[in-house]
Amino acid sequence: MRAELLSLFDPAEEVADARPLREEPRKFGKPFDRVDADLIIRSCDQVDFHVHKVVLGIASVVFEDMFTAPGPPPHEKGQDVPIINLTEDSKTLHHLLTVIYPVDPVIPGTLEEALWLLATCQKYEMDSTAYCVRFLLKQRTPPLLTALNSFRTYGIACRYHLKEEALLAARLTLERPMNFDACSGDLHIISGADLFRLWGYHNECIKAAKNCIGQMKRHGDGGGPPSLSKSCSGSVHVGKYDTEGLQSVPRWWHGHFLNRVGDRPSPKTITDRPAFERALAVHRSSSSCAACLQPDESRVDNTICVAFEAKLTAAIDQVSVSLGDQ
């Protein structure tokens, strides 16, 4: 599987056979070299991990079924302990075993390694292990999954039916325009069908974001977003922005947020603070709006943006992206 992925990441690179014919198996070493181990799992690059059936059986439905199935276990000449050859490489198996054994977990250092690990968990039906891996990955700083590699992550996640990662990546792609230029570098990884579904997801999110902003506006007065000082006039206290009433106050920023939806319906992009401050400055200079000239500016800006971002995030979270087989 890793070889297949490698060929995806760099099509020009010839992927060497991960299992040279004459290579002798070697032990991984501590902590997977205990003498009381009752099973050896061998990676595709010929590294042996001495493990315990009971641990693997608890962690994995597939291993559990394998151990309880009738028939003699596979032995190698001169070996007392059965050996199972796996298609995963030693790095992936090491990551996997450190999560299921009571040792310090070794977290994948790259996005690709993380996805291989999750795909392996899925393959061997190791749900709780996958849960732990996801939890550990979420704690990682800096995060492996970013808007910058979101198209790539989405493509790989879809290929290996990692629904959760596909959705996370799809949400991050909302920070980028949905066009061929934006994902050109990752196109070879994403199938056309997955790309088509992602495009549909983007369109749904644009609709959801606009609806969300529209509802907040309608909730207030039912009119269009005012842009002049006259519309913003009146006694508006900073404290008011902290209340639920904020979302029903018809202000020029409804229009600002609507304009920012554009082709990037990410709550983070729509409520981008510097963009909001620039728009506020333009509004003030063009309208001399007294209502928006509050003394505690950063508090006002932040409160408005935070409130909108939360509302938008809730709306976007309702939109899902389907994988091909569902």
């Binding site: 196109l187 070879h188 069908a193």
Partner: protein
């Protein structure tokens, strides 16, 4: 559940009694019930001689048929062997229509040319698979004299068909046709679902390189036409006095070419006329008399430069299309 297959004879001219081999088409599902799935496959009773002369692949396959060591299954070509009515059978992966087109091209009979885009690509792919180069040439030559099956409207679909079938030449031609449409999700629509990642990336790269070539062609044209003084209409109605046409005609021409780089769909004469006449008649800067330009000649010049530039760039564009072309 039982899987049953019925064999249908194609009939004349592929039912001669002196036929010495049967080509069996890919079976298609005919009926499904709770107890069984029925499929049908078509038999073409043909003569080894024709196949051997037309295709080195069939030559190998048929020589293996007569030897006792021949494998029962050619995995690379997806061909199984069988026997029926005392004749050897080659079970091919092509459908009935594709086989019919191929066989009519090598038999002395009326040729069954593929009519649709899909049939055309399948037949070309089969001809390529069996190394029937003369058949491929025959179909391509025939197609070039007909109303084109691949148009701007279906160019993306044609590109995907060709790419997936390993037809590099057809993929290249279709990719070129896609240039006149914007590369957007709206344009490709559901056809995207048939695309592989490598096919999309190859098309994107091809497009970028092609658009660079278009830009070079436009630049060459702009250099040739200069300030358009040599492109005035020699009509007797043109009574302007000055030799220099002023800057406005050239400015409008340049504005059109700039829009063209961003959107190649504007490359047609009506758009050109519209752009050049959008701000009224050109007038002589001195005497203010109307100045007319030979817009058709000007457009042909532009088109020629762009076409030639893309043509010159073709050898550099080909490498963008080989990856996914399986047998290309």
């Amino acid at each position: 559940m039982a899987l049953l297959c019925d064999y249908l004879d194609f009939g004349s001219p592929f039912n001669d009694s002196d036929a010495d081999v049967i080509l069996r088409s890919r079976s298609v599902q005919a009926d499904v019930s709770l107890e069984e799935i029925r499929t049908t496959a078509t038999h073409f009773r043909v003569h080894k001689l024709f196949l051997i002369k037309a295709s080195p692949i069939f030559e190998r396959l048929l020589s293996e048929t007569s030897s006792s060591q021949s494998p029962n299954h050619d995995k690379e070509l997806k061909i199984k062997r069988d026997s029926y009515d005392g004749l050897p059978v080659l079970c091919l992966s092509e459908d009935c229509d594709t086989l019919h087109s191929l066989l009519t091209a090598i038999y002395p009979t009326d040729i069954g040319y593929p009519r649709t885009l899909e049939a055309m690509m399948k037949t070309y792919a089969a001809a390529k698979k069996y190394c029937m180069s003369s058949v491929l040439t025959l179909f391509r030559t025939y197609r070039s004299g007909m109303v084109p099956v691949v148009t701007t409207a279906n160019a993306f679909r044609a590109y995907l068909f060709a790419f997936n079938e390993g037809l590099r030449e057809e993929a290249f031609e279709a990719a070129r046709l896609t240039l006149t449409l914007p590369q957007t999700f709206e344009t490709y629509g559901k056809d995207l679902c048939n695309a592989s990642g490598p096919a999309l990336q190859a098309l994107w790269r091809h497009r970028q390189a092609s658009l660079r070539a278009v830009g070079i062609g436009i630049r060459d044209c702009v250099m040739e036409v200069g300030d358009l003084r040599g492109w005035r209409n020699s009509s007797p109605r043109d009574k302007s006095c000055c030799a220099e046409p002023g800057t406005r005609p050239r400015d409008q021409f340049l504005a059109f070419t700039r829009r063209l780089v961003a959107d190649l769909s504007l490359m047609n004469f009506s758009h050109f006329i519209e752009a050049m006449s959008s701000q009224g008649v050109f007038k002589c800067p001195s005497c203010k008399a109307p100045v007319r330009f030979d817009l058709f000649r000007l457009f042909v010049c532009l088109e020629r430069h762009v076409d030639e530039s893309v043509e010159r760039a073709s050898p550099r564009l080909w490498p963008f299309l080989p990856m996914g072309c399986r047998r290309g």
